[in-house]
């Protein structure tokens, strides 16, 4: 009987430990850092000041939608007629976008409409822009988390 109790104690404590440590949802390990904000950030080499905004309040899932990339010089002047290439995907899953987003127009000086963006999974997505403007080449990367 005593052995039974002792064995039970050890076994059940072990099982509880497993349950406590293994039963947590992976979703609690949410990506804490979101870099898409309403403020400008410098591109990787510092040539441009860039800001990325979704044309919808919340970036939707499984629906094609648009974004606007604002590109300024480092001292705040609009960069017009830049050539911009859009890339991106889910670095944690190792795949790109299901669609091929492209810049379709410049609604204002320094603003570029990016059409054809689709996020088809929840989780961390990266949107990367190769920018050629004012005879300078630079890149900017934005991270965002697509939620349920």
């Amino acid at each position: 009987m005593k052995t039974f109790f002792l064995t039970s104690v050890v076994y059940i404590l072990f099982m509880q430990l497993i349950a406590q440590t293994g039963g947590q949802s992976a979703f609690t390990d949410a990506v804490k850092k979101q870099t898409i904000t309403d403020s400008f950030q410098l591109s990787e080499k510092g040539f441009f000041s860039v800001k990325l905004q979704c044309t919808k309040n919340t970036p939707p899932r499984n629906t094609i939608h648009n974004w606007v990339l604002t590109v300024l010089t480092a001292d705040g002047k609009p960069v017009t007629d830049a050539r911009i290439q859009v890339n991106g995907g889910m670095p944690e899953h190792g795949h790109g976008f299901p669609t091929q987003p492209v810049v379709t127009k410049q609604p204002e000086a320094g603003k570029y409409l990016i059409e054809g963006v689709k996020f088809n999974m929840m989780g961390l997505w990266v949107m990367r822009f190769n920018i050629y403007g004012n005879k300078k080449m630079d890149a900017a990367e934005f991270k965002l988390k697509i939620k349920a």
Binding site: Q100, G116, K147
Partner: protein, 451 residues
Amino acid sequence: MPAIPPSAITGYNKLYLKFNTSAEFNLTSLSYFPGLRKKVSILILCLPVWLGFFTTAFKDDAVKWSEEEKDILKSLWIGSLPPLPPDPSNRVADDPVAASLGYRLFFDTRFSANKKISCATCHKPEKYFTDGLPRSKGTGLSDRHAMSIVGTGYNAWYYWDGRRDKQWSQAITPMETIGEMEGTRVEIVHEFFTDSLYRKLYQQLFGSIPSLPDATIRASPRGNDTARVNWQKISPGYQRIYNQVFANIGKAIAAYERTVQYGPSRFDKYAENIITNKKQNSSSGFNSSELRGLKLFIGEKAQCLRCHNGPHFTNYGFHKIGLPQLSAEKPDLGRMIGLQAVMMDEFNCAGPYSDAGRMDCTELRFINFDAPSAEAFKVPSLRNVALTAPYMHDGRFISLKETIRHYRTASSTLPPGSLEFSKLNLSDKDINDLVAFLRTLSGPVITTTKK
């Protein structure tokens, strides 16, 4: 029976008494009965452990959902399904008269070569618009398993490889496909206009009935050699007329198919209770296996949610899941072929028979030719999945358990790059629980079309 080491008892005693002075009193009061005291001590000392055991054993019945998990449940709930997106390529898409005509066409066998096959042959309403076969049987044996048409008004692409981008262009494809209905465009159009009700509804929906050549011949650009040669003998003007009527037939069928939707399942009732806090933290009709399966389904351990997300449990996309080819001579390359086929389809969204402007065709405009497409296949909805076996594009798995086991095996054995998910450490119990959860996704099929 060996004695319990005194050190163990002492250790527990100290730990336990430190936090429970009332127990200390009770133990002290039994000091005149040394044997009894020891047994009672063990029982009391074990109490928290037993309580822990029962808490663990019945943990699922009192499952707690974090706010993030509740958001996920809400995103899967049928009540979160947005309104049916408009189809600008089909101007009668939401016309009840078109749906009524489409309903009749869906069950009409007169358009097939042997006059025995209709859309409903492979999409049987009583089988949730599937046929229960690994590969469908029309006039011959199809290359693939029949997908359900329920809820497909939300799709961006049709077929396992997405070789069609519109519901109406999908609807007319099997009518001419060899081995399926195997009709020809010219015969189908002439057959259609022999029916007085169809003529009346056509005029109501699409305007006047075009004048056509008297002779009915087996002629189609997609048929066998004879049919294709005959098609070339028809003038381009008449070809366009046949094509337009053929497209309109598809648009009517699509109008009916758009009205065929999923009804609420047991999962939806459970999710609704949780997200509206009606019966929060209770099982609400889910047993412990179903609850555990749901937890697994929405967690990263099983990775199901990556592709099977949203109220239809699909992201409507194409993914590689590492299924080995069944035939080395005739490999199925999936989306790789579908990508090319949809661009060449004269009935695609941007084609001459579409009612949409080119700018409305966003899926075609932003199609990604660089996405992994070789051996990638469409993600099917999981609603009614337990009722619509067999599984995969070729119907190779007869059970859900077998299907989920594939993901576990493929993730352990295939090299990186051959599939789009990472290693799955799923136990047999995990798989059983996932299957139990998937069974809760069964529900009715509903339609607003008046027959």
